[in-house]
């Protein structure tokens, strides 16, 4: 979706304001929203992208997470608006749910055992090849930022295959077939014209579906 979240290249958002000695969380409720969101484990990025743009700009990061978590719970049928308002369960417990465990939480920060990459079709593109980012404008979730569409780049390397993260407006995967992901280099001048330093470039990881031969 061409939403406010797709910010690359926008201007007039003000200066970057780093906070000295910033804590990991700024309030107790942020800790709980972070943990709830991780534990429910059903949230997808698209819910945050659906937040109306003016709200998106005004809300803090964890307010967005909270909004997205609430929408996810409602859409997944895990809780109703009335239950969320009151904090009281009407429908009883949710049967058959996997409950996130302490072991799950600790496993998050352990390197997984090495696994063999899934086998997929041979990569269509190779290092050094010129490619063009497709000009697509899906209304669902995509990982192809607007500022790259129809721009020319160069394949730098090929990563392991990964299923496309794009989702339709119902949250369903657009294409589950694992496909190569490439690191693609774009000259800053290809993206921004003469105002950019000719030495500079932007590297972006792109699924094969996002690319076509130049």
């Amino acid at each position: 979706m061409n939403g406010i979240h797709d910010m690359g290249g926008m201007q007039n958002m003000g200066p970057v304001r780093p906070e000295k000695n910033e804590p990991v969380f700024h309030a107790e409720w942020e800790r709980r929203v972070f943990a709830l969101d991780m534990a429910v484990d059903e949230t997808n990025r698209y819910e945050i992208e659906l937040i109306p743009p003016a709200d998106y700009l005004r809300m803090s990061y964890y307010e967005k997470w909270l909004t997205s978590l609430i929408e996810t719970l409602k859409k997944a049928g895990l809780a109703t608006s009335a239950e969320i308002e009151s904090g009281k369960a009407v429908g009883g417990i949710v049967p058959g749910r996997h409950i996130y465990s302490v072991a799950d939480a600790l496993a998050l920060i352990v390197p997984p055992p090495e696994t063999k990459a899934p086998i997929a079709a041979a990569p269509r593109f190779h290092a050094g090849e010129r490619v063009r980012a497709r000009n697509i404008n899906p209304v669902g979730h995509t990982r192809l930022p607007r500022y790259l569409r129809a721009k020319l780049g160069t394949i730098e390397r090929t990563w392991e295959v990964e299923s496309l993260w794009d989702r339709d407006t119902e949250g369903r995967p657009v294409d589950n077939t694992p496909q190569p992901v490439y690191s693609v280099r774009f000259d800053a001048r290809e993206l921004w014209g003469e105002q950019a330093n000719p030495r500079d470039s932007v590297y972006v990881d792109m699924w094969e579906a996002y690319l076509e031969p130049s």
């Binding site: 690359g8 926008m10 009281k88 949710v94 302490v102 998050l108 930022p145 800053a188 500079d200």
Partner: protein, 235 residues
Amino acid sequence: MSTTRRELLTVALTAAGAAVTPDLVHAVELGLDHDHQAIPSDPTLRVKALESLLVAKGIVNRANLDALVDTYEHKVGPRNGARVVAHAWVDQAYKQRLLAHSTSAIAELGYGGAEGGVMLVVENTAHVHNLVVCTLCSCYPWPVLGLPPVWYKSAAYRSRSVIDPRGVLREFGLKLADDVTVRVWDSTAQVRYLVLPERPRGTENMSESDLAALVTRDAMVGVAKVTVAQEGAHA
């Protein structure tokens, strides 16, 4: 001041494809456009109610939520990344492995997992400066840097890092010469990035742990250099 804010809103609404009318901008300024989204009026109360509900429904368990918070507040953070950097500074063979096979080299020191399943370490030199951003959301290498700071997730940083990286770096107090190459890494897929900063001069006799104490989170995102005067990464 209000003019600036109004302009910002207008730009944002226009970019989002909204038909911008003076009434809409005014409504947004006054916070009157809340009816179509559940926005917490008091996050503390809203979140307490939500947690109670999800515990009662058997969807989450309080002890496990506590474990999640403890994990990301205390068990990961930029100290992990600083150890990786310092080890690369003192061990050339490790540095080569780190640049060629970043994920497994980081795992050698015990770090890995969620938001770090595929890592790429990029090296800053006298001629090349690397900067990491996520323009679409907030992708960040959790196992080595912890959760991202607010500025990394801000509209200002996400929007401008790709179009004006040198301007953003100046705001962090880092002025790069025109003949230095800037590489911006926009994290859009499964790969997460860590910058290997330049080892500062005058540190030849320092121990690995003293070197690690010099390495800041900002240097590993690429918005700062490591200097001897610095106090070290924020927790």
